[in-house]
Symmetry: C2
């Protein structure tokens, strides 16, 4: 039982998306691509480049429609890489990907490229009249960059990165601002995750292992509407919860200790990310106090964001939001036990812009956007608590919305 | 029923590894690391470099022991990156990874590095007396390479790649030769895959969807001893099998058509990869003929390898093996329908050296090693057949062993 009247159940949360939702999102994406390409072309014109060479699967999906599975880029070679010029979009595909590329990227020209990009690059660049090409320098390997320069010395390569914010890619910066249908999919992924955790609660009892619960939660996500996980499920019991990125093991759940779940779903490419730290049996005073502290830090950050948005702006910077949460934890003497940032943007990638960390860019958050708010306190060898929700904001609409709806207070299970 | 007396069942194949196997592999890995590092240090000395900067998770696991999950490198930042000098191994870890790194890489020094490698690099390099550093240029981004050069211009960076074979990384080349305990794990992953497909056969009947069967096969793998998938399960029915890397969809299995499964398991980091093209109901004459052709191409390549190994060498090159399979398919008039290479090495990565493609290095295969032999014929819009087995060879021992043991002949299901 929880401090609320009852434990949450799946029906408390939104139903999974339908086939009609998915068909609509596919159509909306295709219709949105010209505007996405226009934003990129405006950056290209401002930087004086004729073409953009992309290698990152998320950016390829955003701009061309071609979908690579998670990790598939490791075996795809250059298939899925793409070039945008002022009037063309070209997608590279070897024979394994030709039919798929024609199907998923119908507005692009499919260029057959095998392991021979080095040989083909001069001709491809010349065919696009590309003399100065912006490249996703944060994602293309140094070896490939060097090969392309050697293959076509007459084609100048420059990093496709924001001059004001080195390290920030152009398309990554554009992707931080979300379209309505992108936010819908993140929200749908959040609801699937909420439902899955609710369905898992009755399975949690002393003695079951972290690995078993992680697998059960994955099954609930994958059979509950998720196309895939956003990332491997973390399920960490007791002292293990002090490892913010630990992997579930054969350790059993113990009564009187915390149980931390960090997980997310994917829906039509868009991801969710949530963390709940549950209590198995009667909580210790120490764990309750830390949970209260982390919850207060999170509420403070969210409250600050709400005030900014409802006040009509300006929006805070990422470091501003981080400071809102961090100051609460520092004031309680736990500053050194909160080593990571307060949050990160999410969308086609689990971690994307904006960053809400101490070292993030000191620029106002974009809008509309969606990001996590996830402070934590970790006592090595003892316990750990993190609470993570996704927050969607829209300054123009005066809207702040928590997309994660699983209760964030004290939830007691396994007794 | 199959052309054999009966359909295969899980008990036909080796049992999954035990906890004792896993404990032994962990101990053997730790004991093997000094020799792995010695091979790398010999390359470093020959190339006149003081240190090696590694960023690829597979190489980090091989040399240091630190384990990142699939895709985790996308959110880990520089955590898991490592530096090998003549007398030290340093692993970078931010606060999320400190405890895990100490546990998994007990023979390394853990260096706390956050998003600030650019700031820390001059001091880290100086601390290791590193003036000339070999970097995994095929995996580090061009942007990071540029940042490191700007941060410490006095430290010369060079690509850690084979001078004779540009593009071939040093550790990747070393990893192509397998230790006995590495081959054991690949074999264990193969047996888990064989068992899972055998267990799936009764579920295959006209009307069930590709996506349902792919998920059922994943569940069988994950609950049958696999730590994870090697890659997303491909399950492609009828004409979809002509997409060598297609994704399973809501298309139903139809009687009289082929059903292609391409999938693999992971066991303690090592992977398997197999493809079977089954027949649902009575096969068409066309499909049977293509299956016979592909099987004959595969048998020809394997036969050539067996003859070379049992004759005491020399071993063929990757392109030689490719030609053995390809010539059979070309002679049958289907050369243009076999667009990919004949095989690839496998181990900590699903695709690694040696490559058995037309454009692969013209050097003798390493030994002992393990790779796939997977010819295919794809008729767009009609049908596709691929048969893929892992083959382990050891020239010194005169041993050729097929690690995939699921029958590779005609298997008829769903009737």
């Amino acid at each position: 039982m929880s401090l609320a009247d009852r434990l949450p159940v799946a029906a408390d949360f939104a139903a999974p998306p339908t086939m009609a939702d998915r068909a609509r999102w596919a159509a909306v994406d295709r219709a949105a691509r010209p505007a996405r390409l226009a934003r990129l072309r405006a950056r290209m014109a401002a930087a004086g480049v004729d073409a953009y060479l992309g290698v990152r699967p998320e950016n390829g999906r955003y701009l061309t429609g071609l979908i690579l599975g998670d990790g598939e880029e490791k075996v795809a070679g250059v298939s899925g890489w793409f070039v945008v010029s002022s009037d063309q979009v070209v997608v590279f595909a070897d024979s394994r990907y030709t039919i798929q590329a024609m199907r998923e990227a119908p507005d692009a020209r499919i260029e057959p490229v095998y392991g021979d990009l080095r040989l083909r690059w001069p001709e491809i660049a010349a065919g696009l009249a590309a003399r100065r090409v912006a490249v996703e320098a944060g994602f293309v390997s140094h070896a490939t960059w060097t090969e392309l320069v050697e293959a076509a010395p007459e084609v100048e390569l420059v990093a496709a990165q924001d001059a004001a914010e080195p390290g920030t890619g152009w398309v990554e910066a554009d992707r931080a601002t979300k379209e309505p249908a992108e936010l819908e999919r993140v929200a749908a992924a959040c609801a699937i995750a909420d439902r899955a955790l609710a369905d898992l609660l009755p399975e949690i009892r002393p003695g079951v292992t972290e690995a078993h619960l992680a697998w059960q939660l994955e099954v609930l996500l994958r059979t509950g509407g998720a196309d895939d996980l956003a990332f491997d499920v973390a399920c960490l019991a007791g002292p293990e919860a002090a490892l913010p990125h630990g992997s579930p093991g054969d350790r059993p759940v113990r009564t009187g200790a915390v149980l931390l779940f960090d997980f997310g779903a994917q829906v039509a490419g868009y991801r969710s990310d949530m963390t709940r730290t549950l209590f198995v049996g009667t909580p210790s005073t120490r764990d309750l106090a830390i949970h209260e502290l982390v919850g207060r830090a999170q509420a403070t950050a969210i409250g600050g964001l709400e005030a900014a948005v409802r006040g009509g702006g300006p929006l805070p910077t990422g470091p501003d939001v981080d400071a809102l949460a961090r100051d609460v934890i520092v004031a309680a003497g736990h500053g050194e036990h909160f080593g990571h940032g307060t949050g990160h943007g999410i969308g086609l990638a689990t971690h994307e812009l904006p960053s809400l960390g101490r070292r993030a860019a000191r620029v106002a958050l974009p809008s509309p956007t969606v990001f996590s708010v996830e402070p934590g306190v970790y006592l090595a060898g003892e316990t750990g608590v993190r609470i993570e929700d996704l927050l969607s904001i829209d300054l123009a609409a005066g809207r702040v919305q928590t997309l994660t709806n699983f209760p964030r207070g004290i939830v007691i299970v396994g007794r």
